[in-house]
């Protein structure tokens, strides 16, 4: 026993640590662990390179790769490239889009619809976010926000189907209208731009609501109170204080909703009709069959993506200018 006590006095912090946690102690004293550790922590530089190597490779091959490959295929004359023949590049696939006005209609329809739906979502969710952030007590806020979040856990297809039932000829809307005696025959909501709009707003509302809510929540109540004390009316307070200071939330919400609504495929197929074909359906059409139409489809997808990116970028710049101009 005495020897043991002598030993205890000489125990270093590290040993004490090792004794208290035998598993970890055994692991870090394990020969291969030490070799591995020395290898990765040889120098800060090497440590960083080892940490960074895998993510960089992943990002380049998996995140950027599909985009670049799509761009490459869109420039090919034929895909898959027949063996033995050289890769011949061409811009015919892009010219096909600009040369045939059949493709313009769905293209511009997609952009116009996406813009309209984005504005509708903004107008619809702004009061809701405002109410939640400004008029509800802290404790109820979370609960009331959570109520709105529940349906958004449910998938795209299920919610689209719910809208189909909602707007159908014998659906709830028609039933209520009939009940009030406003109509005699059901209004055919379905398979029009209207039903598609209701569906897409239904699917994207959350992506608008959350940025708006967090922007409004950050805005101190005292700002509008000061303005009210100085004699500003409700409209002026909203126009001069609340709106300019939440422009950031508005712009990120709008960008998200715009990008998402250009990419919907199932919802327009199920809720839209022949007169509301969107570009996503046109693009998808090239991929339902065997390979030789792929380059055209890829070119169309590139055109769609670039246009959406340019529009969002211009919108972002505009918002930035507005923000600077107002504050």
């Amino acid at each position: 026993m005495p020897e043991y006590k002598v030993g205890l006095e000489n125990i270093t912090t590290k040993d004490a640590y090792l004794n208290s946690r035998p598993i970890w102690g055994r692991i870090i004293n394990f020969y291969f662990y030490k070799i591995f550790l020395n290898f990765i922590t040889f120098s800060p530089r090497r440590q960083f390179l080892i940490l960074a190597a895998f993510p960089i490779v992943w990002l380049l091959t998996q995140h950027l790769g599909p985009m670049l490959q799509m761009l490459r295929v869109s420039l090919l004359e034929a895909y898959p490239v027949a063996e033995g023949t050289p890769h011949s590049f061409t811009i015919d696939n892009y010219i096909r889009f600009f040369g045939d006005y059949i493709f313009w209609m769905p293209f511009f329809r997609t952009l116009i619809f996406a813009t309209i739906f984005t504005v509708c979502t903004l107008v619809l969710t702004y009061p809701v976010a405002y109410y939640l952030a400004r008029h509800v007590s802290r404790k109820n806020q979370m609960l009331m926000l959570l109520i709105l979040l529940i349906p958004f856990w449910v998938g795209e297809i299920v919610r689209t189907y719910a809208i189909m039932i909602f707007l159908g000829n014998t659906g709830a809307v028609n039933l209520v209208l009939k009940w009030f005696g406003l109509i005699e025959r059901p209004i055919p909501f379905m398979y029009t731009g209207f039903s598609m709009g209701v569906g897409i707003v239904y699917l994207t509302a959350l992506y608008m609501l959350l940025p708006l809510y967090s922007a409004l929540e950050k805005l101190p109540k005292s700002y509008t109170e000061v303005a009210a004390d100085l004699g500003a009316g409700a409209w002026v307070r909203f126009r001069k204080i609340t709106l300019p200071l939440t422009l950031e939330g508005i712009s990120s919400g709008c960008i998200l909703v715009f990008l998402i609504s250009t990419g919907f495929y199932a919802t327009p197929v199920l809720l839209g009709g022949p007169s509301t074909t969107v570009f996503a359906e046109t693009i998808a059409g090239f991929f339902h069959y065997a390979g030789d139409e792929w380059p055209t489809g890829a070119a169309f997808a590139v055109i769609m993506f670039l246009t959406a990116l340019i529009i969002t970028f211009l919108f972002y710049r505009l918002m930035k200018v507005l923000r600077k101009g107002d504050t």
């Binding site: 799509m70 898959p80 349906p151 909602f166 199932a266």
Partner: protein
């Protein structure tokens, strides 16, 4: 004056809640209607549609198939997403912004375009359409969501904890395993639930990268194209209850751990 505004705003909120919930409630109700025809009025009720989907091999199979895909893709995206988050939340390095931009890219690409890009890339890589391709596409698509959530959590990790561990003689790797990783667990769990649901609900990628085996959303889509039936209501209701329950549970869980950590 102020109270009038308040009443109008609260009406808007409740109208919005109705808009969000009525279609779903309607869908659930129609699943119990004793008639092939969807719509009002409802004369009698039945459980037959639920019984019939539980005896349908195809539906049960696609349900399990979707869950399997969700689990595998989540495992991949959680590991990779966390790794990227640790890299990005560490010291700023040359080229940080492009790396961040690349990381977020799959979440910003519109659905159809991302599906097509994955389809083309899978063919180039030699991945056959099917389960593997869907898992891969879902994994890549979900990485940004994991990274964002984990980065947010990592930014609140007190530096003093790391320093204390290092002062006590722990090496960088051990510090990561025993300090950083346990601290990240709530975020990682939350992110994995989110990924599971994203993958389970995903339609576009599963549709373009799948073979003849359909995932649940693809199956519902195929059934819908051939006409509405109360069976679809029953399947959709089960999917809805399952996803909503998991979502609410995860939401409460993350909220609770956030609260615990603040104290």
């Amino acid at each position: 004056m102020v109270s009038r505004n308040r009443i109008i705003l609260s009406c808007t909120y409740w109208a919005f809640v109705l808009y969000i919930f009525i279609p779903l409630i309607l869908m659930i109700v129609m699943g119990f209607k004793d008639s092939k025809f969807i719509g009002f009025p409802i004369k009698s009720w039945t459980f037959d549609w639920y019984i019939s989907i539980f005896s349908d091999y195809e539906i049960i199979y696609s349900f399990g198939y979707s869950i399997l895909i969700a689990i595998f893709s989540t495992l991949i995206s959680v590991i990779i997403g966390t790794w990227i988050a640790v890299l990005l939340e560490g010291r700023k390095f040359w080229g940080w912004s492009p790396v961040f931009g690349l990381m977020i890219l799959p979440a910003l690409v519109p659905g159809i375009i991302s599906a097509i890009a994955f389809r083309i890339y899978a063919r180039w890589l030699g991945i056959e359409p099917g389960m593997g391709a869907i898992i891969w596409a879902h994994a890549v698509h979900n990485v940004p969501f994991v990274t964002i959530v984990v980065m947010a959590r990592l930014s609140t990790l007190p530096k003093s904890q790391i320093e204390a561990a290092r002062d006590l003689g722990a090496d960088p790797l051990l510090t990561f395993i025993r300090i950083t990783l346990p601290y990240l667990i709530p975020a990682i769990l939350g992110a994995s639930i989110f990924c599971l649901l994203l993958s389970f609900d995903d339609f576009v990628r599963s549709f373009f990268l799948g073979d003849y085996n359909a995932t649940l959303p693809v199956l519902i889509f195929a059934m819908l194209r051939s006409g509405m039936s109360p069976e679809i209501n029953a399947i959709a209701t089960i999917a809805l209850i399952l996803t909503a329950a998991i979502g609410i549970w995860a939401e409460r869980f993350t909220r609770k751990t956030n609260k615990d950590n603040k104290i």
